[in-house]
């Protein structure tokens, strides 16, 4: 009995030790074009492809909801992921993901200019 408990405890400790916490991240949404949104995701470390995808799926609902509220047409949402560079305060782009509606048509189209024209 005692050996079974020890085995279970060891397995549990190994599991806990092997687990990394859920990724921490913050996002910033920008309207880079009249129908394109850019979501800059600052992650605490480089992640797996699945984790990048899951973050995009989680955030997309809120991003689209906000776009509808402000009547921003959305043809494309570009997710860009940035992670800290070891030993510096800088961050580097580590991954990207582009989302488009399935039918390749915008969620909402007004085709009205809603951004200022600013030369670079």
């Amino acid at each position: 009995m005692r050996s079974i408990v020890m085995v279970i405890l060891t397995a549990l400790m190994a599991f806990v030790a092997g687990c990394r916490g859920a990724p921490l991240y913050s996002i910033r949404v920008e309207e880079t074009h009249k129908d394109v949104l850019r979501v800059a995701v600052a992650v605490d470390r480089p992640l797996s492809i699945h984790e990048y995808h899951r973050i995009a799926e989680d955030e997309l609902r809120f991003v689209l909801k906000g776009a509808r509220r402000y009547e921003v047409p959305v043809y494309e949402v570009r997710f860009e992921y940035f992670a800290p560079v070891e030993g510096t305060v800088a961050a580097e782009r580590v991954a990207a993901y582009i989302w488009r509606p399935d039918d390749a048509r915008p969620v909402h189209t007004t085709f009205q200019s809603n951004t200022e024209t600013v030369p670079p």
Binding site: D35, P73, Y75, Y97, R105, T117, P119
Partner: protein, 446 residues
């Protein structure tokens, strides 16, 4: 008790290769399987991707089979594992240690395809490399203990070019060629040829020197096939001669080989291929032009001059490839004086003409527009042309121009191709007017 555990462990280890090698074992580990006459593919990627790769693998077995002339039954029925998942996420940090491997005793090829988009050709060199190992180790089993031969020959064959109609073997590996030349011209003493010939598997694949060893192994095999053996000898016979060459004789070629490496004109070799656009070498010509646009080089002016001459090629695909390569080369030119050279000016004018030429075929226009959209340093040259194209009579060209402008310019625009294809002329006109006003503001600012 311990004896039983050991016995069970031993049985497990002995059974593992069998389980892995057998279809049922892989079937348990992978979602999809695709069996062809010569091989079985397993993968967790989509069945569409599996079929796409299967057709390539079939073609590679045909192409290499014609060179090696190994009876089919000797090759057995290999298992090919395509690792990776289908995803639209681009992971810039992704850098696998091993892109592929061939395990002779299991007749198993494993390919890492995570970084490969669904319809791309990025896995072609890895497939060619690993399938070449299959042929080499089947035809000449001793090659498995001679890393320079096995890896050098596979690296020469990985640049082979193929489509449904044919196969070409340039044998030139530009990336490894650059590394080999760098080693030969560097301050550190070059690895001695006898040492390269005698390297064990672990010495050859040593993490610190692996890249150098691959490059020198390719350089040796390329030298022997392309410079040492008779030029008129068919490739299959050359490979056979390579197996049988006396190793002492090869070691004795060291001074000539080093001389070859130090004077090797990689750009010159690519330019020779690029100019030879005959039907038997057209795949190699297009590949060489593409490489001339991609590779880092200190000879931008020489390459731009040569590429400019290909901009008017009567071969439609060479013309497209030359335009793309010219744009890329121009955008990554190391010295700005290159951009002021007369020949380069003429080339830029030629590309602009092609962009505005309504008689140019749609696929040429779309490809050039797309390539222009990737230019960062020379964007001032292309933006006015692309703005003009927003008014093109062809909706696809309008959409491609808008997409290119959205990538290269900070001015917000409508990217949605449906708008540019089908939007009302008034709405499009308003957007174009906005672009022209923005351009004139830029011009006024000087």
């Amino acid at each position: 008790m311990r004896a039983h555990v050991r016995l069970l462990g031993l049985i497990g280890w002995l059974a593992l290769p069998g389980i892995v090698a057998s279809g049922s074992g892989c079937g348990l580990l992978y979602k999809h399987a695709h069996t062809e006459r010569r091989f079985t593919l397993y993968s967790n990627r989509s069945e569409t991707y599996l079929k796409h790769v299967a057709s390539k693998v079939e073609r590679i077995y045909e192409g290499l089979g014609a060179v090696f002339k190994v009876p089919r039954e000797r090759l057995g029925h290999p298992t090919i594992l395509l690792e990776g998942v289908d995803t639209d996420v681009v992971d810039f940090h992704y850098s696998p240690d091993i892109l592929g491997c061939y395990i002779p005793f299991l007749n198993l090829i494993s390919i890492e395809s995570t970084a490969a988009p669904r319809e791309s050709e990025t896995t072609d060199p890895v497939l060619l490399h690993e399938i070449a190992h299959h042929f080499i180790s089947t035809q000449w089993p001793a090659a498995t203990s001679e890393c320079w031969l096995n890896e050098g020959l596979a690296a020469a064959l990985e640049t082979s070019l193929f489509d449904a109609d044919g196969f070409e073997f340039p044998l030139l590996n530009p990336e490894l060629g650059q590394v080999a030349r760098h080693c030969a011209r560097g301050k550190e003493p070059l690895l001695r040829l006898p040492d390269l010939l005698d390297m064990s598997w672990s010495q050859f694949h040593d993490r610190e020197h692996r890249e150098r060893n691959y490059a020198l192994a390719w350089a040796l095999v390329y030298y022997l096939l392309d410079r040492h053996l008779p030029a008129d000898m068919p490739l299959g016979e050359k490979i056979d001669a390579l197996y049988r060459l006396d190793r002492g004789e090869i070691a004795g070629l060291e001074p000539k080989w080093i001389q070859f490496l130090r004077s090797f004109d990689l750009n010159g070799a690519l330019l020779t291929y690029a100019r030879d656009t005959g039907s038997a070498t057209r795949r190699t010509a297009r590949w060489a032009i593409e490489k001339l646009g991609q590779l880092r080089s200190g000879e931008d002016l020489r390459l731009l001059e040569e590429l400019a001459e290909l901009l008017d090629s009567p071969d439609f695909q060479v013309r497209v490839q030359a335009h793309v390569a010219f744009l890329r080369r121009l955008d990554q030119a190391t010295h700005s004086y290159v951009l002021e050279h007369e020949v380069v000016h003429k080339g830029v004018a030629r590309v602009k003409r092609a962009l505005r030429d309504s008689n140019e075929s749609r696929s040429v226009s779309l490809t050039i527009v797309d390539a222009a959209g990737e230019c960062r340093r020379t964007q001032a040259d292309w933006v006015p042309c692309l703005v003009d194209l927003l008014d093109s009579t062809d909706g696809e060209v309008r959409a491609a121009a808008a997409s290119a402008l959205s990538r290269m310019s900070a001015k917000p625009t409508i990217v949605n191709p449906d708008f540019w294809r089908e939007g009302t002329p008034n709405a499009r006109g308003a957007e174009i007017a906005e672009w022209r006003a923005w351009l004139s503001t830029l011009n006024d600012q000087g």
